[in-house]
Symmetry: none
Subunit: 131 residues, 4 copies
DNA sequence: GTGGTCTAGACCACC
DNA sequence: GTGGTCTAGACCACG
């Protein structure tokens, strides 16, 4: 299986570091199953050219993803998505979501919102957000 | 009323800019009513000394808060929280909360959560978060 | 406390990556107590100049040490050795030593050595090795 | 005697070069007597196919082993393990073991271990390591 | 002054 | 072809 079906969009003016944007999109496509385990990714050079960024930027992204166990890179061979299903990644991702919700809940309390108001707002946000 | 009851905690290694930490805490205490409209704040020099940060940092925080209309500096007198009730501030703060919820909802969808799961999680987060 | 007493020696022809050499020496001096917790390290630029390597190389070393929890870097402030005593670092370092011993023991078995011969050799190695 | 009983396991993601893995395993099986002197080895092409690696890789491994005097290639006939008992190989291998022990001893000293602790650890490692 | 990010371009080992 | 390492040099945010 080849990684040709990878879609990564770079926004140069979002303030988010380019390598972070790459990391997130690969991680999310791995977690949601768009990219199957074992898929070979583009080489750092190829991806760099495709996204019009420096090789160093793609390399940095791959390094971080490797640290997270999402990809596995073999010198001279290429870079591949982890073989095992993305359960570990899902777990920590889920923890992030929970954390974000707690922070937001705290802000909602500052505004004086009740639990009912907050969950209603969350429901709204979920429905309005079309991926 | 004096601002002696202001409590600001600085975390030097959180990654969040110091001036941003100051801004957030003053803004939040204004919004939730901990600090009453018209309250006089410490001078930038006093606050800087108290928090062990540079005067430049407190100055920058006050400047931003003034731009947001939350505080008002009167030359020769000092700095005061806005007289009017903090409705404007609340509005934009509420917008921030909504935005954060949308981002989180998007992540939840990536994990395959349904609307019900997400709102349940939000309810949990609200209840577990004791300010 | 200043980090002026840090001693790092770089061997350009050892094959070991420069950043790895820096990492090891800082880590070891932290573990053996030569460098006290909280000590401020040289800035990446200063260290780079001192060692005659690229700033990127020192930065890379500091990044890895931060990942290991050995140092803590605060943007705009500087880089500091972790406050807590180096117990965690010691633990994983000890695990490394054990692992190395196992690998070596395996090789000794291939040579037909008995346990007695191997431990005698280990004793010798310890005594001959004057740090 | 044919070399059919050779067992070589390749780990593509261990970081150790493939040719180095091949070298080590043949060398070790020669030293420990698993492979008798004079044994005929597979051709580089056969081995390459068997291990699913490039012919270049097996060729490189055989070249290095020939340089070490462990194998001997006879044009038109094939490749054979050296006739003489593997004493030379043992010698240099033993030197490697000693070197590894010294390095490990140095690390143990950094941890503050005494000679007794170190040799005890070595004994443990030997006993736990079942080849 | 500090670190954070991004860039271009080189050489090497491995496959 | 691949990734691994090292280099110089730039701009930015923060203090």
């Amino acid at each position: 299986m080849r990684g040709d079906d990878i879609t990564i969009l770079i926004d140069n003016s979002s303030g988010v570091p380019l390598y972070e944007q790459i990391i997130r999109q690969i991680r999310e496509q791995f977690i949601d199953g768009t990219l199957a385990p074992g898929t070979q990714l583009h080489s750092i050079r190829h991806l760099a050219q495709q996204l019009q960024v420096s090789v160093i930027t793609t390399k940095r992204a791959y390094e971080e993803l490797e640290r997270e166990g999402i990809i596995r890179t073999i010198a001279g061979k290429g870079t591949f998505l982890s073989d095992s299903p993305p359960d570990n990644a899902k777990q920590s991702y889920r923890a992030e979501v929970l954390d974000a919700l707690k922070t937001t809940a705290r802000q909602a309390k500052i505004l004086g919102m009740t639990a009912a108001e907050f969950t209603a707002l969350a429901k709204n946000a979920y429905e309005e957000e079309h991926r």
